[in-house]
């Protein structure tokens, strides 16, 4: 056992804070008067953002993972929290998006004493904080069962957000989501049981040292992966995503599409690149890649056919999740010594980041469009540019990233993944990436062309929208663009503290 790895590092307490701060926030929500709920939540999320930024800084400064041993007990007896480079990046992404979403959502979930659902503000803000805490736990968790708990917390916090308005359709969508996510959980838990039965430990670092070409481990990884792709809504298991993400309020859709599906994806990354013994994943990785390719094509084609903006954006999420899974064949297919330093790996992480920011911005913009003109039928978007210029600008910038035009995070991701595919001679993945880009250009243009055109009669804004909320969405879209200004090369940051490098 590597001694350096298994001790609390300076700054390890930040990981505890990342998990505990949202929990304290939730408790505080119940103690304050309802007018103060928003402010308590926003303050909590601001602190959370600072904690995650500090974590990233600490990881960069020490060039190693942050570790915290809960109660000072080493695994396999105790629990460890660990943040490597990629986890820290994910935490910052989550912190930033959740905080900006909170600004966007402020005032959206007021108490309506006569409405069907009077607890909406309480539900929304509690669930938002719970999602934040659950995601942080997923990013820093080390123990497969601990991760299971985080995953369940994530699901149970996400489901109520879908049915926040209490309508029949959204309740049905939420139920669909819940049942399918539970089916995924069962498979994951089954995998955890198999691991425990075979190894007697659930700690990822310990397991990575004990692993061998063991049938039980492979079986467990396969089961957990199947469960997790159901929760990630990878094609063909995406049935729950479009109704759930399109039906939720805009602020909730932004969180669900940008962050929640990434939680389970992050776990798959961990299983495949940390736990799976090298050289055994080729068939499975290609299988995941093929499902991803199916998602890219089918999701994009369906996005092209939608009449309503929110459904279009939701199907775009199905497609963009597909790109994420191309990482598996591309990063394992190369002969490079360390997959974590490879183009595909950075490309995949960039895709995750860029999609999170762009999609959150897109859903927020969709909500603003709905408020501005009273509907989200694409056919009725003429003149939108005049009525809501900032929102149309937000949609444009987010679209630039989604369709992969430079400079944007989406372009960088596409560029790096294409470089990996063509560099390895795996041109079939390149064809998928390019075809997805073409289709994305198509569905994005379907929104933007009417929005930029001028109607016969001057359109009028139905309802006023707070500029702060428009700017919140714009900020996220701008970040999606700014990611494209980072160097187009593998990031050393993402390789910091990967388990496979520590224990070859």
């Amino acid at each position: 056992m590597t001694p350096g790895l298994m001790a609390t590092t300076p700054g390890g307490l930040l990981l505890v804070l990342a998990v505990v701060v949202p929990v304290i926030g939730i408790l505080a929500l119940w103690l304050v008067r309802w007018r103060a709920i928003e402010w308590v939540a926003i303050a909590t999320l601001a602190i959370n953002l600072v904690v995650s930024l500090a974590t990233l800084q600490a990881v960069r400064a020490s060039d190693a993972s942050l570790v915290y041993l809960v109660g000072g007990w080493m695994p396999p007896l105790g629990l460890a929290l660990r943040a490597d480079g990629i986890a820290a990046v994910m935490m910052v992404m989550t912190g930033a998006i959740v905080a900006v979403t909170a600004l966007y959502a402020r005032g959206q979930f007021g108490f309506d004493p006569h409405g069907p659902e009077r607890r909406r503000p309480m539900v929304f803000w509690t669930m938002l904080l719970a999602i934040t805490g659950a995601l942080n736990l997923i990013f820093v968790g080390e123990d497969l069962f601990n991760l299971y708990v985080a995953l369940e917390l994530l699901t149970f916090a996400a489901v109520p957000l879908v049915s926040l308005d209490g309508s029949r359709d959204t309740l049905a969508a939420a139920l669909r989501y819940l049942v399918f996510a539970l089916a995924g959980s069962v498979l994951y838990l089954l995998g955890v049981a198999v691991v425990y039965g075979a190894y007697g430990t659930l700690d990822l670092v310990v397991l990575a040292e004990m692993r061998g070409a063991d049938g039980a481990l492979l079986l467990a990884i396969a089961l957990m992966t199947a469960g997790l792709i159901a929760k990630t809504a990878l094609f063909p298991l995406h049935l729950w995503l479009p109704p759930a993400h399109a039906g939720a309020p805009a602020a909730a859709s932004a969180i669900l599409s940008a962050l929640v599906v990434k939680g389970s994806f992050f776990l798959i990354l961990g299983l495949w690149f940390d736990l799976l013994p090298p050289g055994l994943g080729a068939i499975g990785a290609n299988g995941l890649g093929m499902l991803g390719a199916g998602a890219v094509i089918v999701g994009s084609v369906l996005a092209l056919r939608q009449e309503r903006l929110k459904l279009l954006v939701a199907y775009s999420t199905v497609a963009q999740i597909g790109y994420l899974f191309l990482v598996f064949p591309l990063a394992t297919g190369s002969e490079a010594a360390s997959p974590f330093a490879s183009l595909a790996w950075t490309g995949g992480v960039l895709q995750l980041l860029a999609h999170a920011f762009a999609k959150a911005a897109m859903f927020m913009a969709a909500g603003l469009v709905y408020e501005a003109i009273g509907h989200d039928r694409i056919a009725g978007f003429k003149g939108l540019g005049r009525i809501a210029p900032i929102t149309v600008l937000t949609m444009t910038l987010a679209s630039v990233s989604l369709m992969g035009l430079p400079p944007s995070g989406g372009f960088s991701a596409k560029w790096l993944m294409l470089s990996a595919a063509l560099g390895e001679g795996a041109w079939w993945w390149a064809v998928v990436i390019l075809a997805g880009g073409l289709l994305a250009a198509g569905y994005v243009f379907r929104i933007l062309v009417p929005a930029f055109s001028t109607p016969e009669a001057p359109a009028e804004r139905k309802y006023p929208v707070a500029p702060v909320r428009e700017c919140a969405a714009l900020v996220l879209a701008v970040i999606a663009i700014l990611i494209g200004f980072l160097p187009l090369a593998p990031w050393p940051l993402l390789a910091i503290g990967r388990i496979a490098q520590v224990s070859p």
Binding site: L219, A222, I283, R305
Partner: protein, 536 residues
């Protein structure tokens, strides 16, 4: 002076941003759009050999070939910007065209200054995609149909180009993205052949090389005259600058060069042949562009085959003349369409000279353009084909002149607004005269132009073409094809694509039913487990 480069690129963009957010600016700007390309024009004159690194992956640099095209493009944007408000008149306020105009201009000018792969791809995409708004500017079913074809070819072309660029970058050991570096590494790159194929496909779709030309005739037919002027004059040259920048002229690649030359000559003659079947003078000009861009590709191919270092300047010089000639002729059509027979002469006569200049009429700018690329074509088969393509262009241009007369206004005393006529005269003067100024820096002594042999070489194809046109115009039954020729063959394909997406949607609806999705989840779990355990 380096600051002129970002200024040239960002000034139209800044005007776009201002007019998007301020109705006050928007209203005033509508008539002042001709100002937007001025920094580009100044940069072309004073910032040659400048280079600027911008934040992130972006960078601008200007060399002599780029400056020629930048200046020419800026000038045709300026002329069209003068003509456009007069052309749209009262529709200006209700149907503003500024956003698309300014965005397209930004890409169109900046592409000549792109210093690296990412910047080139960005600007190339911008000019292509924003051009959609100009094509569909006047609405109408035909415009949107044309717009769909335009957009499809534009994004497909970009995908080709992106593939080429990734291959270029992957094949560059230093990891540099600067265009000179990747081009220097290209001849020795393991992915050289694939990179060249995708490069030619990507650039060819922008230049309208056969068979990727199908978007050009319907687009120019549907686009309003000022929009067609900038699209045909300036925007298409994004493809030419691509050939200039990315073909490795320092290394002779005979196989690739001759292949490109063949593709180019096919387009050169195909464009003329189908252009003769067109009645709409805008479509005739579109086919002439296909032919001319094919000729440029042929020259580029022969230069690549010979490893000709002077090729970039020569190609840019030829394209510079085409910017003014083709963009100008669309402006001439705008003037002719609103002018009655009485005032037609001062518009039509320059049009005849400029049109025949495209075919190489001696002593015009077009003749200088032909002379500048003469050495690159050589005296063999390619040289002969070049002369024959000039003869073919003569036929097409004579056909264009007869078609252009037919759209003149019926009101005898009608006269186009001075802004439109003036814009046309600016472009015509530039097409006829500017090449004289630049010829010495590109192809040496001006005396070459006046030699009897040079004039004879240019004149005999035109006489041949003139005679052929007389024969052609006497035919009682001439074939007619719709703009976009093979598009009609592709229409059923478009329908079957729609059928395919219907089927995908139905399949998706089936997959997303509960029993199917649940079964799939189980099957995937079993499948993964089986595959991974078996792979051990």
């Amino acid at each position: 002076m380096n600051v002129l480069l970002p200024l040239a690129a960002l000034f139209p963009l800044a005007l776009f941003a201002l007019s998007a957010f301020s109705p006050w600016v928007r209203q005033r700007l509508a008539r002042l759009l001709w100002l937007a390309p001025l920094p580009g024009l100044v940069a072309a004159l004073f910032a040659i050999d400048g280079a600027v690194t911008l934040p992130g992956p972006l960078g601008l640099a200007l060399d002599f070939p780029g400056a020629m095209l930048l200046g020419a493009a800026a000038l045709i944007w300026l002329a069209a910007g003068i003509a456009a408000p007069a052309f749209w008149r009262e529709k200006l306020e209700t149907l503003p065209y500024q956003s698309w105009w300014l965005l397209t201009m930004t890409g169109s000018l900046a592409v000549f200054m792109a210093a690296n792969l990412v910047t080139f791809y960005l600007t190339f995409s911008l000019v292509s995609l924003a051009g959609y708004g100009l094509v569909t500017r006047d609405g109408g079913a035909a415009a949107f149909r044309a717009g769909r074809v335009y957009f499809t070819l534009a994004v497909v072309g970009e995908a080709f180009l992106l593939t080429a660029f990734v291959l270029l970058a992957v094949g560059t050991p230093s990891g540099s993205m600067a265009i000179p570096d990747v081009v220097a590494a290209l001849p020795a790159s393991p992915s050289r052949d694939a990179a060249l194929v995708f490069l030619i496909l990507g650039l060819g779709s922008k230049m309208g090389l056969v068979p990727l030309h199908v978007w050009m005739p319907p687009t120019y037919s549907a686009a309003p005259f000022p929009a067609a002027a900038v699209l045909s004059g300036a925007a298409v040259k994004a493809g030419v600058i691509g050939l200039v920048r990315f073909l490795p002229f320092s290394a002779a690649l005979p196989g690739w060069g001759e292949a490109l030359a063949m593709v180019g000559f096919v387009s050169a003659f195909f464009g003329v042949a189908v252009g003769l079947t067109q009645r709409n003078p805008k479509a005739v000009l579109a086919y002439s562009s296909i032919s001319q861009m094919g000729f440029i590709a042929a020259v580029a191919g022969m230069a690549l085959a010979a490893g000709r270092l002077a090729a970039p300047s020569e190609l840019a010089f030829y394209a510079l003349h085409h910017v003014f000639a083709k963009g100008g002729l669309f402006l001439a059509l705008a003037a002719i369409a609103t002018t009655g027979p009485r005032h037609l002469r001062p518009i039509l006569w320059p049009a005849i000279v400029v049109a025949l200049g495209i075919a190489g009429l001696p002593l015009t700018g077009g003749a200088l353009a032909k002379l500048a690329v003469k050495d690159a074509l050589g005296s063999g088969l390619a040289g002969t084909l070049g002369s024959l393509s000039a003869a073919a262009s003569t036929i097409l241009m004579l056909h264009f002149i007869t078609r252009a007369r037919t759209i003149a206004a019926s009101d005898d005393r009608a006269e186009a607004p001075l802004a439109i006529r003036g814009a046309w005269w600016i472009a015509a003067a530039a097409a006829l005269l500017l090449p004289w100024l630049l010829f010495p820096s590109v192809a040496g002594s001006i005396g070459k132009v006046l030699e009897v042999k040079a004039i004879f070489d240019l004149a005999w194809p035109m006489v041949l073409g003139g005679v052929a046109f007389l024969g052609w115009s006497r035919l009682s039954r001439r074939p007619e094809l719709p703009p976009g020729d093979v598009l009609i063959v592709l229409r059923p394909a478009a329908t079957s694509v729609r059928g395919l997406t219907d089927r995908i949607a139905r399949a998706e609806a089936w997959i997303t039913t509960w029993p199917v999705a649940g079964t799939l989840l189980l099957l995937l779990a079993i499948g993964f487990a089986g595959a991974m355990v078996a792979a051990r």
